[in-house]
């Protein structure tokens, strides 16, 4: 559920779509983001790092 950290950046609905796609296709959140071609100002590995979420 690390995608929660992206909600302030891209919104709840897009994050839901990412989470569902990752689950359905057995992929990581990062893989789905890469496939969708989404770009973030901050490094995606940092955005999805659990240690930075606490």
């Amino acid at each position: 559920m690390i995608v929660t950290n992206l909600t302030p950046l891209i919104g709840y609905d897009k994050c839901s779509a990412i989470a569902l796609k990752a689950y359905d296709e057995d992929k990581s959140i990062k893989e789905v983001i890469d496939e969708m071609g989404l770009k973030f100002e901050e490094n995606i590995d940092k955005l999805l790092d659990p240690k930075r979420m606490v």
Partner: protein, 380 residues
């Protein structure tokens, strides 16, 4: 005439698909799904819970506006709707979801988010159900999770009921008991132990006991309130505050203080107020102790009033109504009986609250929140 007008419903979408939502309601797809998925008791949250939830939403919105995390036009529109709820009691009929729902209260939090977003969109001249420009999650629920919003609402609603309803009734009861103590001060009666004659006792002393118990219970409830002022707002999903601004909780709690005029504080370990509801159990058990005191009083009074010819006949109880459909002239201690039943209900409610803590507080989220607060509020 548009298709929607003819059909009387609008189509709303989420990740799970499309469903129909009636055109004339302010709630949205989450609420509509919940109406269908939780057709259980037909009981909905009491109004005070919905009003308290609106107070939490107002505090969170003002915090987000302070932090400039929400665009002013959107923020003003949401604020207008919240004030319509808080000042004009509008939209209180827009919360149809059963109390037996998710243990986190998410459906009811989303119900509020949807009502606020839809009405705000309407104010801004946009159709309902589109989540644009005001989004129920991204704007109304910003920096929040049901997991910190619902516990905060539980505390606020409990405090409203204890301080605005329960405490004033206890004060009135104390006044009535004081009058009886004065009235009965020269009457000496038989004291009884084990239901057998003992030594003489002033009738006023029996009533001093009831009054003292009310005073003890009031003091205990004041301490309960002190605990309830600590809320986990800003903790979001598991108390770590993920996706909320670091200054969000302090700002929100300060706004809440002004909105409610109650001295709320941020729980220093927000996860504690999310994963377990010790303080709600404490409040409930405080009210259970009050119920036990009232039960003794009601029982004593009906015993002393037994008779009139073949009972103790020490008290003449008010004749409020004929007591029997077959025995003419019979009058019963119905006020005592009503009070005893209310006390027993309260003791039952407290058992539910304890079990809800016991079964619900697993790992990082207590998942029996709705029945905990509904039973606690029912006891106030």
């Amino acid at each position: 005439m548009s298709v929607e007008k003819i059909l009387d419903y609008r189509i709303e979408k989420d990740l799970l698909g499309e469903i129909q939502v009636p055109n004339d309601v302010f709630w949205g797809i989450n609420t509509q799904r919940a109406i269908k998925n939780f057709k259980i008791s037909g009981k909905t949250f009491p109004e005070i819970f919905i009003i308290s939830l609106a107070q939490v939403k107002k505090a969170c919105l003002l915090a987000n506006l302070d932090l400039k995390l929400i665009n002013n036009d959107i923020g003003e529109a949401i604020l207008k709707v919240i004030n319509e709820i808080l000042e004009e009691n509008k939209y209180l009929n827009q919360f149809p979801i059963d109390i037996f729902q998710t243990g986190s209260g998410t459906q009811t939090n989303m119900n509020m988010n949807e009502v606020l977003a839809n009405r705000a969109n309407q104010i801004l001249g946009h159709p309902m159900g589109q989540k644009k420009p005001v989004h129920p999650n991204d704007h109304v629920n910003k920096g929040q999770s049901s997991n910190d919003v619902i516990p905060s609402t539980m505390h606020i609603s409990a405090l409203h009921m204890i301080s605005e309803k329960l405490m004033p009734s206890l004060d009135r009861l104390k006044e009535s008991l004081s009058k009886k103590i004065e009235e009965f001060k020269d009457i000496i009666k038989v004291g009884r132990t084990h239901l057998q004659d003992a030594v003489p006792i002033p009738l006023s002393l029996e009533f001093e006991v009831y009054k003292k118990q009310i005073e003890i219970n009031k003091e205990r409830l004041k301490k309960v309130c002190e605990e309830l002022y600590y809320i986990p707002i800003g903790g979001t999903a598991v108390g770590t505050g993920l996706s909320a601004h670091e200054k969000f909780s302090e700002l929100a709690v300060n706004h809440l203080l002004k909105i409610t005029n109650m001295p709320f504080k941020v729980n220093p370990i927000k996860a504690e107020g999310i994963s377990s509801h010790n303080t709600i159990v404490n409040a409930s058990s405080g009210i259970r102790l009050l119920a036990l005191s009232l039960l003794k009083m009601a029982n004593d009074i009906r015993w002393m009033g037994s008779g009139p010819r073949a009972g103790l006949s020490e008290l003449i109880l008010p004749q409020n109504e004929p007591g029997s459909s077959i025995m003419p002239g019979k009058v019963n201690p119905t006020q005592s009986e009503a009070l005893i039943q209310a006390c027993l209900q309260t003791i039952g409610n407290d058992s539910v609250v304890s079990f809800a803590e016991a079964y619900g507080s697993i790992l990082d989220l207590n998942v029996c929140k709705p029945i905990m607060i509904v039973n606690l509020l029912n006891s106030t």
